[in-house]
């Protein structure tokens, strides 16, 4: 717990130093055609003339009250904006993990059971591909292949115009998002009982989720594979067989159960990581999450925005790390000694 606090404090300090070391970003918000006096007045207003220690103290106390500062461009509190955009990112990451659970885990289990089988080779191939390919490029490629590769008719007619616009953003233009309950559009649409809208939002989720899953799933595949193959060759599985238990029973009761902790651990870490790690995919798919928000802040030299996102992402990651540790500790009696 103390370590957690120390790590978080250090994270905040680094973030703070980074953004305050940049000099006055006031020109960015006021433009260059203003007098020194106005600049000076704004600097005073924003507390930029205080000593750095005081500024840091103000920042930390505000931070503890959930105040991340105000965007210098839009004048909206950063915390509010992040609260609005975090569900979008969380939804994308949830579905990314769901997609990974569909391909990476089964293939990993199969590869652990039959290391030389065709499916093991397929999984290894996908993993190899997934780590080599940059996610943002893969996303662009998907958009192009699925939506803009014009179907060609014989020569006098030439290429056809593309029929469907790609599903960019969370909902298509002209579609009203569902009423906010959880902030996850698919869930909100289901709560509202609007199945068409739920399908629509799901449709917009698929491409980013598949893209992110292909590039973030390989570690899951590999960990599953090694956990399963280790469990299969362990003495307790041999013992279970010698009791005369069937293959299926042993697989579920002994192999999968024993192989699951490292996999679930990694899945949780992947979740925490992707909250801030999906920036480029968000940009490619115009997904209005915190990653796009950070890039927007960066483009406008709005460093409170950048720092806010970086902090939130890092804090989520650290806290998740801590929780995973706790769960592991509670689940595995061997760790308690």
């Amino acid at each position: 717990m103390v370590i957690l606090a120390v790590v978080l404090l250090a994270v905040v300090m680094i973030g703070f130093t980074i953004t305050r070391s940049t000099g006055t970003p006031l020109y960015a918000s006021l433009g260059v055609a203003v007098s020194e006096a106005i600049i000076e007045q704004r600097a005073e207003e924003m507390g930029l003339n205080e000593p750095i220690v005081v500024q840091f103290w103000t920042y930390v106390t505000h931070l503890l009250q959930g105040d991340l500062g105000v965007s210098r461009i839009s004048r909206i509190p950063v915390a509010e904006d992040i609260a609005l955009k975090l569900p979008a990112t969380a939804e994308m990451v949830f579905f990314t993990l769901a997609v990974s659970f569909i391909w990476a885990i089964p293939l990993g289990v199969r590869a652990g059971l039959r290391p030389d089988g065709k499916l093991a080779k397929l999984g290894e191939g996908m993993a190899q591909f997934g780590v080599s390919v940059p996610a943002f490029w893969l996303g662009l490629l998907f958009i192009f292949l699925l939506y803009f590769l014009p179907p060609r008719l014989p020569e006098p007619l030439g290429p056809l115009p593309s029929l469907f616009p790609p599903p960019l953003g969370r909902v298509g233009s002209g579609v009203t998002p569902p009423e906010m309950v959880t902030g996850l559009y698919t869930v909100d649409a289901l709560i509202a009982g609007d199945f068409r809208l739920a399908w629509h939002t799901l449709w917009h989720l698929i491409l980013p989720a598949v893209t992110l899953s292909l590039t973030s799933g390989p570690p899951l595949f590999r960990v599953t594979r090694s956990a399963v193959s280790e469990a299969v060759s362990s003495p307790f599985v041999e013992a279970a067989y010698s009791y005369g238990l069937g293959r299926r029973t042993v697989l579920i009761r002994d192999v999968l159960r024993n192989a699951s902790p490292p996999v679930l651990n990694l899945a949780a870490m992947t979740f925490g990581y992707l909250i801030g790690g999906g920036v480029l995919v968000e940009v490619v798919f115009s997904w209005p999450g915190i990653g796009s928000y950070a890039v927007w802040g960066m483009d406008n030299s709005d460093y409170d925005v950048v720092l806010g996102v970086v902090l939130i992402a890092a804090i989520i990651y650290v806290i998740l790390y801590f929780i995973v540790d706790l769960i592991q500790f509670a689940m595995d009696p061997r760790l308690r000694d």
Partner: protein
């Protein structure tokens, strides 16, 4: 004077090119081919008469031939300004490889030293080192890069060195420092009590002497195994940051910024501007994995990408 037998020397050289499996050997050959192209890229223009492919000035636009699809004159087509994508992809290889190498060498080198120091000293030094690793690794990599660019945004402290490139290199080092620190430390930790260390201590060798002469050489295998993987990873980070407009300013050739330039074209069906640079990223990363016997990778949490 010690002379290594020529036989042994040849064997050592060959082991760099020939991997344990055929696939790895092919990947290594691919890598050395790309490395060769990267090295000679600026001089290709002088030898264009002997080359099978046409080569152009990567920065001179051809206003009469914008957005041309791949042809015999422009193998990879041209972009909106009429710049030849093929030439630019080759030049970008040079840029990306160099930046990745410098960044990894800088951060990794410091990480190795810090890791060895932490393993030797243990106690509170070790504690502090591990905390630093944890703090650095709790930032998602690209956001760390973003924060670095925010930090150095208006500070012109690199003198003649290109600002964006310098910050890119620093970001890469920040990512690699904890990776190497953790790896080296975990390998060397059991060696602290080893007899040869005790002997060196008795012989009067100082702490840095032991770290330098006895610890680092013992971690060499691990460091060499990590090196190609981290370089591959660094290339992806550089391209990713350039993709959101940080680092290398267009029109200078770089894979990520080229993909960005092509992103608006790809939705009009002009795929070549983005696809070829991306394919080169994939090829370079894939070829680098030919140097690592370990199948695990760095992408993802704990290891740490986009």
């Amino acid at each position: 004077m010690t002379v290594l037998s020529p036989q042994r020397e040849r064997g050592r050289m060959a082991r760099v090119f020939v991997g344990p499996t055929v696939g790895m050997t092919i990947r290594r050959a691919l890598f050395f081919f790309m490395l060769f192209l990267a090295v000679v890229a600026p001089w290709l223009d002088d030898f264009s008469a002997w080359l099978p492919f046409p080569i152009y000035d990567p920065l001179r636009p051809d206003p009469f031939n914008p957005v041309s699809p791949p042809t015999a004159e422009h193998w990879f087509g041209t972009d909106t300004l009429g710049l030849d994508v093929f030439t630019r992809v080759l030049m970008a290889t040079r840029v990306d490889f160099t930046l990745a190498l410098i960044g990894v060498a800088l951060g990794g080198g410091l990480g190795c030293l810090a890791g060895a120091w932490a393993a030797y000293r243990r106690g509170w030094v070790d504690m502090v080192a591990l905390r630093i690793v944890e703090v650095l690794q709790s930032f998602p990599v690209l956001l760390l890069g973003l924060a670095m660019f925010a930090a150095f945004g208006s500070l012109e402290i690199f003198g003649p060195v290109d600002h964006g490139m310098a910050v890119l290199v620093l970001s890469i080092s920040m990512v690699n420092f904890p990776l190497y620190l953790r790896q080296v430390r975990s390998v060397l930790l059991p060696l602290t009590e080893a007899e040869f260390v005790q002997a060196a201590k008795c012989a009067g060798l100082g702490a840095w002497g032991i770290v330098w002469h006895h610890f680092i050489p013992n971690a060499r295998g691990q460091i060499l195994a990590l090196f190609p993987l981290t370089c591959a990873y660094a290339i992806q980070i550089i391209a990713g940051l350039s993709f959101i407009g940080l680092g290398i300013e267009p029109p200078n050739p770089e894979w990520g910024s080229m993909i960005k330039a092509g992103a608006t074209l790809i939705v009009q069906g002009h795929w070549w501007v983005s696809v070829f640079p991306g394919a080169f990223i994939v090829l370079s990363v894939y070829s680098l994995t030919g140097f690592s016997a370990r199948s695990e990778t760095l992408v993802g949490p704990g290891g740490t990408s986009a």
